[in-house]
C-alpha cells in the first residue's frame, strides 16, 4: 500500500511539474492579429468602440463608404484613448482629447499612404472652441469650467502642419459672456478678421438655461484675441447647444451662418419654441438684419446638428419630439434644408434615430452627396444622401459603437 502511494505520488508529482513547464509555452504568443491596413484609402473614419464602460477610438481608412464589406478596426487604425473630438483643417485631422490631459494630436497621411500621428500639443484644459483662421493656423479657446475656477479665457494659435504653438493669450476676461450665467460655449468661427464665439448662458451647477430668448455672440479680435463686442439678437434664441459645437458654419462667401436650437432634448431646460438660422456677415459686429429663418415655425422641428453644403443647402438632423427626454438627442430625422428657399425635404430612407454619439457632427460632403453614419436598430451604417433629390441609400456597415469623425485625406 505504501509502495503504491509512493508510485502515485511520484506520478502526480511529475504531472504537476509537466503542467508547470508547459503553461508558459501556451501563452507565449501575442493576441494581436497583425496589421490589416491598406495604404492610400482616401476616407478617414474615427471608430468609437465602447466596451464595459471604456471607449477607445481607432482612426481607420476606407476605400469605399458604400461597399458591402463592413468598415472595422480589426488589426487597423490608430488607437487613441480618452474622449476625443475630431476636426479637419487642410490635410490634417486634429484629434483633441486624452486621458487626464487634453492634447491635440494631428493625423496626416505619410508618403507611403498610411495615416500617422504628428506633433502633440498639450492644452491646459479642454478647448471649448477650435477653428481654422487661415491656411496655416488654427485658433483654440479655453474657458475655466466654473466661475470659481478662473475669470480669464485662454486663446491659442497653432500651426496646422506642425502643431507648433504660435501664440497664447491669457489676458482676455470671460466677461461679459458671464453676465447672466456661466457661458456654455457652442461654437467658434473666424470671419473677416474677427473670432466669433457663440454661447448659451447655463448654470454650471444645475445646467438650467435662464435666457434662451436671445442669441449671444462674443466677438474677439484676431490675432490679439481682445474682446471687441457682444452681439445679441432676439429673433430666434440661443445659438448652438451644449457641447455640440453646432453654433456656426461658414458659407461659400466666408460669412457666418448661426443656428439656434433651444431644444429640450439637447440640454436646454426651457425652450422659446423657435429654431432656425441667422447670419453674420464676415467682419461685421451685428447679425444680418436681412436674414432670418425660423425653421421650427415652418416644420415644427428643431435643428440639432447640421452641415452647410453650399448653395444654401444644409444637411441636418432635426429633433421631432420635445418630449423625447432631457439630454436624450432622441427621435431625430435627417433632412435637407434650403436656407434660401426656406424649405426642407425629409430624407425618407433614413429612419428616425438618435444623435450620432460623437460631440461634433459627423457628415462628409463630396460630389453632390453627403455621407453620414446613422445608428439604426440593425447597427451603425453609412447613408449616402443625394443632396439634389433628398433621397438616401444605405452603404457600408460600421463595426463600432459610434463614428467620431468622417473625413477625406488625399
Amino acid at each position: 500500500m505504501t509502495h503504491m502511494i509512493h508510485t502515485i505520488s511520484r506520478k502526480t508529482w511529475s504531472a504537476a511539474l509537466a503542467c508547470l513547464a508547459l503553461l508558459p509555452t501556451l501563452t507565449a504568443c501575442d493576441d494581436d492579429m497583425g496589421s490589416t491596413e491598406v495604404p492610400g484609402e482616401p476616407y478617414v473614419l474615427s471608430l468609437g468602440i465602447t466596451s464595459s464602460g471604456v471607449t477607445t477610438y481607432y482612426v481607420v481608412t476606407a476605400q469605399d463608404l458604400m461597399s458591402d464589406t463592413p468598415i472595422n478596426a480589426y488589426g487597423r487604425g490608430i488607437e487613441q484613448n480618452g474622449y476625443r473630438d475630431y476636426q479637419q483643417a487642410e490635410q490634417t485631422v486634429f484629434s483633441i482629447g486624452g486621458l487626464g490631459v487634453t492634447s491635440a494630436t494631428g493625423i496626416q497621411r505619410d508618403a507611403a499612404g498610411y495615416l500617422q500621428e504628428v506633433g502633440d500639443f498639450v492644452f491646459n484644459n479642454t478647448p471649448i472652441g477650435f477653428c481654422q483662421v487661415d491656411d496655416h493656423t488654427m485658433a483654440a479657446m479655453e474657458l475655466p469650467t466654473s466661475p470659481g475656477s478662473g475669470q480669464n479665457l485662454t486663446f491659442y494659435s497653432v500651426d496646422i502642419q506642425t502643431l507648433e504653438l504660435k501664440s497664447r493669450v491669457t489676458t482676455t476676461p470671460v466677461a461679459p459672456m458671464d453676465d447672466i450665467e456661466w457661458p456654455s460655449v457652442t461654437g467658434m468661427a473666424y470671419a473677416g478678421g474677427n473670432l466669433y464665439v457663440s454661447y448659451v448662458p447655463m448654470n454650471s451647477n444645475t445646467y438650467a438655461t435662464p435666457a434662451v430668448d436671445t442669441a449671444f455672440v462674443a466677438v474677439y479680435g484676431y490675432p490679439d484675441f481682445e474682446f471687441k463686442t457682444l452681439i445679441k439678437d432676439t429673433r430666434l434664441g440661443n445659438i448652438g447647444s451644449w457641447n455640440a459645437f453646432n453654433g456656426f458654419q461658414l458659407d461659400e462667401n466666408g460669412d457666418i451662418i448661426a443656428m439656434s436650437n433651444t431644444s429640450l432634448t439637447n440640454g436646454f431646460s426651457q425652450t422659446n419654441g423657435k429654431s432656425g438660422f441667422l447670419k453674420i456677415r464676415a467682419g461685421e459686429t451685428h447679425f444680418d438684419e436681412d436674414y432670418f429663418f425660423d425653421y421650427e415655425a415652418l416644420t415644427g422641428y428643431k435643428v440639432a446638428h447640421w452641415l452647410y453644403l453650399g448653395n444654401g443647402k444644409v444637411y441636418a438632423e432635426v429633433s421631432t419630439n420635445q418630449s423625447a427626454g432631457a439630454w436624450s438627442d432622441a427621435e431625430d430625422l435627417s433632412v435637407i434644408i434650403d436656407l434660401n428657399e426656406q424649405s426642407h425635404t425629409v430624407i425618407q430612407e433614413i429612419p428616425l434615430h438618435s444623435g450620432q454619439g460623437g460631440r461634433r457632427f459627423v457628415a462628409y460632403a463630396e460630389n453632390g452627396y453627403v455621407y453620414a453614419p446613422i445608428t439604426t436598430s440593425e447597427g451603425v451604417y453609412i447613408y449616402r444622401v443625394d443632396i439634389a433629390s433628398g433621397t438616401a441609400v444605405r452603404g457600408a456597415r460600421i463595426s463600432a459603437t459610434f463614428v467620431g469623425g468622417l473625413f477625406r485625406l488625399d
Partner: protein, 725 residues
C-alpha cells in the same frame, strides 16, 4: 485540563467556519505552552487546517515574514491568481485583483470584520506584516461566516493574539522612507484581563525617478520623455489600534472593546496617467473606529457557539485641488487661468457607518454542524465642496443599508466534508432626488429603494490519499450596488432604480498535495481550475457626449477560465524554494452593447470585441522565491537568512488586442523583477536586523498604464521582539 482539551476539540471540529478558527486561539490561551505544542502536532498547523477546508483558500502564514519590511498588500502579491496593482510608491492607491475581479468586487476583512469603509488611512498598504498572524485569501466562494456581498473573493487578515509580547520595529530606506511599528499584548491569565495594541507610523518622500513625458510650459509642446524625480508625492500615515477586555470568563470566552485611530496625508503627483502632473494637489483622511467583540462557546448548551461584533466607522476625507498653476515633470510651473490642476475641488467627504454581525454555530453531532450568520451595515455618506457652494447636494446624506443573512450546513467525515449554504441579500437605500428639475414644481424628494437577492453555493473536499485532497466549490454570488451607483448624485447624475447587482457564478476545482519524505523533505503542491461567469457589471453610463446626466448601468458579460498552480519544497528548517503561476483567460462574452443614456439610445450596436480577451488585466504571471537559513552563525541561536524572490508578468494590452494597428497599441510590457534580502536573527529571534533590496535590477515597473513604480530601493529594518513581558 480535560475540559480544556474538549473545548479545543470542539473548536477544531468547527474550524471550517472562520470566526471560530480565530476563536480556538483564544481558547488555547488557557493552556500552557507544552500542552499547546502537543495539540498543534495533532492538529497540524493552522494554515494547513484552513487550506484543507472545502473553500478555495490560500493562507499566507506570516510568522516567517516578520523580519521583512514588506507591507501587507505586497505580501498578497505572492498568492496565486492575485495581483495587487499600485499607482506608485508608499501610500499610493492600489487595487487588489483576483481572477479578474477588483474594486468593490473583492472584500477585505480584519479578524472577520469588513474593512472596506475603514478609510484610506487604515488600509493594507499601511500595515506592516507584523500586525498579522496570517492572511486568508478566499477565491470565488466565501464561507457563510464572512457575510459580505463580495462578487469574486475576500481577504481576511487575522491579527496576532499572542498572550504576552512586545515588539518594536523601525525601517529606513530609499526615498527617505521611514516606517515605525510598535505592537504588544498583555494578558493576565489569573484575572483574564487582556490589552492589545498596535501602532504604526509611515513616512516617505516617494521622490523616486520616473521616465516621464516632459511638456514645455511656454509652448505647450511635448518634448519627449526624460528621467525626472517625483516632487509632489510625499506621504505619511499614522495609526493606533487598541483592544482591551477579558478572556476566559464563564460568560464570555472573549469580550473586547477597542478603537482604531488613523490618519494620512498625501500629496498627489499624477492623474490617471503620467501625462497629467500635479504640484499642489493633496488629500487627507482621518478614521475613528470603535469596535466591540464578543465570543462564547458552548452557550447554554454544549456545541452552541456565538460570536458578535459591532463597529462604528467615522471617516473624514479632504481633497484639495485649488491652485491656479500648471506643472510639468521638471517641477517647473506657470500660472494658469483656471484654478484646479486636475479638477477644482475643496471637498470634505463624511462617511459614518454602523456595522454589526452575529454568527451562531451549532454542532449537531460529531459530523454535522449548522451556521447562521447575519450582518448589517448602514452607511451615511455626505460631502461638502466649498468650491461649489451653490451645489444643492452639499451636505445632503445618502443612506445605504445592507442586511445579509447566511445559513450553512456542514457534514464532515474523516476523508470528506461537504458544505451547502444559502445567502439572502437585502438592500435598502435612501437619497434625495430633484424632481421636476427646471420646472416651477421643482423640489427635492426622498427616494427609497429596496432590493433582495438569493445567493447559494456548495463546497466539498475528499482526501484521495492522506496527502492528496480534491476540492470543488461553487457559488452564485452577488455584489449589491452602492448608494452612489443607485442614485447617482441625486441631482444631475440620474438615478437608476432598476440597477441590478453584479452577479457571478464561480466554480473552483482543485487538487492539493502535501507530503513529508523522510521527515526532512516537505513538498506541497496545489493546482486549481477556475471558472467565472460574470455579468451585469455596474459601470457609469457610457459618456459618449459627456452628457452630465448619466446614470450607472449594468453592462457586460465575461467568462473566465483560469488555472493556477503552486509548488513548495522545504528541507528541514534550512532551505525552501517555492513558486506559483496563474493563467487566466478572461473573454468578453457580450454580443451587443447597450449604450443607454447616451446619444446612441436606440437599439443596440454590435459588440466588436466579442470573444476577445478582456483588456487591462494581467493574465499570465509567475512568482518564485527561495531562501536559505544558516543556523548558529557567529553565536549559538543566531540565524542568518538569505531570501530571494522574483515576479514575472507577461505583457498585456490596455485595450482589446485585436483592434487597431498593432504598433499604435498601448500595452504594459512583460516585466520581470527581482528582490533580495539578508536578515540576521539574534537571541532566538528576539533581535533582528534585515537588509532588503527591491527591484534589484532597476526595471521600469508599471501596474497601471504609465504610472511608474519605484526603481531599485534599499531598506534596513531593525526589530526587537520580547515574547514574555
Amino acid at each position: 485540563m480535560k475540559i480544556h482539551f474538549r473545548l479545543t476539540t470542539w473548536a477544531l471540529l468547527a474550524t471550517t467556519t472562520l470566526p471560530l478558527a480565530a476563536q480556538s486561539e483564544g481558547d488555547s490561551l488557557m493552556l500552557d505552552d507544552q500542552e499547546l505544542e502537543a495539540i498543534e502536532v495533532v492538529a497540524k498547523s493552522k494554515a494547513r487546517k484552513l487550506q484543507e477546508q472545502a473553500y478555495a483558500i490560500s493562507v499566507i502564514d506570516l510568522k516567517n515574514r516578520y523580519t521583512a519590511a514588506s507591507p501587507l498588500n505586497k505580501v498578497l502579491n505572492t498568492v496565486t491568481s492575485v495581483r495587487v496593482r499600485e499607482d506608485g510608491g508608499v501610500g499610493s492607491n492600489y487595487t487588489f485583483a483576483m481572477n479578474g475581479f477588483s474594486g468593490n468586487q473583492v472584500k477585505f476583512f480584519l479578524d472577520g470584520i469588513p474593512m472596506d469603509n475603514f478609510g484610506s488611512s487604515f488600509n493594507l498598504a499601511n500595515f506592516s506584516a507584523n500586525i498579522a498572524e496570517r492572511v486568508e485569501v478566499y477565491k470565488g466562494v466565501l464561507p457563510v461566516s464572512l457575510g459580505a456581498d463580495a462578487l469574486g473573493g475576500a481577504v481576511n487578515i487575522v491579527t496576532r493574539v499572542n498572550a504576552n509580547y512586545l515588539e518594536a520595529t523601525y525601517s529606513v530606506g530609499s526615498f527617505n522612507t521611514h516606517k515605525v511599528s510598535l505592537a504588544g499584548a498583555y494578558t493576565n491569565t489569573g484575572t483574564g484581563f487582556t490589552f492589545r495594541a498596535n501602532a504604526f507610523f509611515n513616512y516617505s518622500d516617494n521622490d523616486y525617478k520616473v521616465y516621464a513625458p516632459i511638456v514645455d510650459l511656454s509652448t505647450g509642446r511635448s518634448l519627449g520623455d526624460a528621467w525626472v524625480k517625483r516632487f509632489n508625492d510625499a506621504y505619511y500615515s499614522a495609526g493606533l489600534k487598541m483592544e482591551t477586555g477579558v478572556i476566559a470568563k464563564p460568560w464570555a470566552d472573549q469580550l473586547l472593546v477597542g478603537v482604531i485611530l488613523s490618519g494620512n496625508d498625501k500629496h498627489i503627483q499624477t492623474g490617471a496617467t503620467m501625462d497629467a502632473v500635479y504640484g499642489r494637489v493633496k488629500s487627507r483622511s482621518y478614521s475613528l473606529i470603535p469596535t466591540l467583540r464578543y465570543k462564547k462557546t458552548n452557550l447554554f448548551t454544549p456545541g452552541l457557539d456565538l460570536s458578535l461584533y459591532a463597529t462604528y466607522n467615522v471617516v473624514n476625507t479632504y481633497n484639495v485641488d485649488t491652485a491656479a498653476v500648471d506643472y510639468n515633470w521638471l517641477g517647473e510651473s506657470v500660472p494658469s487661468t483656471s484654478r484646479g490642476e486636475g479638477y477644482l475641488t475643496d471637498a470634505l467627504i463624511k462617511e459614518r457607518q454602523w456595522q454589526a454581525n452575529a454568527n451562531l454555530n451549532y454542532l449537531i453531532d460529531d459530523h454535522q454542524s449548522v451556521t447562521l450568520n447575519h450582518i448589517v451595515t448602514s452607511m451615511d455618506h455626505k460631502q461638502n465642496d466649498r468650491e461649489y457652494p451653490e451645489y444643492s447636494m452639499n451636505d445632503r446624506s445618502q443612506y445605504l443599508t445592507k442586511n445579509i443573512t447566511g445559513l450553512g450546513y456542514q457534514l464532515r467525515y474523516d476523508r470528506w466534508n461537504v458544505n451547502v449554504f444559502g445567502k439572502m441579500y437585502f438592500l435598502y437605500s435612501s437619497s434625495h432626488k430633484l424632481i421636476d428639475q427646471f420646472l416651477a414644481s421643482e423640489h427635492w424628494e426622498q427616494v427609497k429603494e429596496r432590493k433582495h437577492n438569493f445567493g447559494y453555493g456548495a463546497a466539498a473536499t475528499y482526501f484521495l490519499f492522506p496527502f492528496l485532497q480534491a476540492k470543488v466549490s461553487f457559488e452564485q454570488a452577488y455584489r449589491m450596488p452602492e448608494a452612489i451607483e443607485m442614485f447617482g448624485d441625486g441631482f444631475i447624475q440620474k438615478s437608476n432604480p432598476d440597477l441590478n447587482p453584479e452577479n457571478s457564478k464561480n466554480l473552483n476545482i482543485g487538487l492539493a498535495f502535501d507530503k513529508r519524505f523522510n521527515e526532512d523533505h516537505h513538498v506541497m503542491a496545489e493546482t486549481n481550475y477556475i471558472y467565472r461567469h460574470t455579468k451585469d457589471f455596474i459601470f457609469k453610463g457610457v459618456s459618449l457626449t459627456s452628457d452630465p446626466t448619466m446614470s450607472y448601468d449594468n453592462v457586460g458579460k465575461a467568462i473566465t477560465h483560469g488555472v493556477e498552480a503552486s509548488l513548495r519544497y522545504e528541507y528541514k528548517r534550512q532551505f525552501h524554494i517555492a513558486g506559483n503561476l496563474t493563467y487566466q483567460d478572461i473573454t468578453d462574452r457580450e454580443r451587443t452593447t447597450r449604450t443607454t443614456d447616451s446619444y446612441v439610445e436606440q437599439g443596440s450596436s454590435e459588440n466588436t470585441s466579442y470573444g476577445q480577451r478582456m483588456p487591462n488585466i494581467p493574465y499570465f504571471f509567475v512568482n518564485a522565491e527561495a531562501g536559505y537559513n544558516f543556523h548558529n552563525v557567529f553565536a549559538r541561536g543566531n540565524t542568518l537568512s538569505l531570501e530571494y524572490s522574483c515576479d514575472y508578468v507577461y505583457k498585456y494590452y490596455l485595450s482589446f488586442a485585436g483592434l487597431g494597428r498593432p504598433t499604435s497599441k498601448k500595452y504594459i510590457p512583460t516585466q520581470f523583477s527581482h528582490n533580495a534580502s539578508l536578515s540576521y536573527l539574534m537571541g532566538d529571534g528576539k533581535y533582528s536586523v534585515a537588509l532588503e533590496c527591491t527591484n534589484l535590477t532597476n526595471e521600469k515597473l508599471y501596474d497601471n498604464y504609465r504610472l511608474q513604480k519605484p526603481g531599485r530601493a534599499f531598506n534596513v529594518k531593525f526589530r526587537v521582539y520580547l515574547p514574555k513581558m
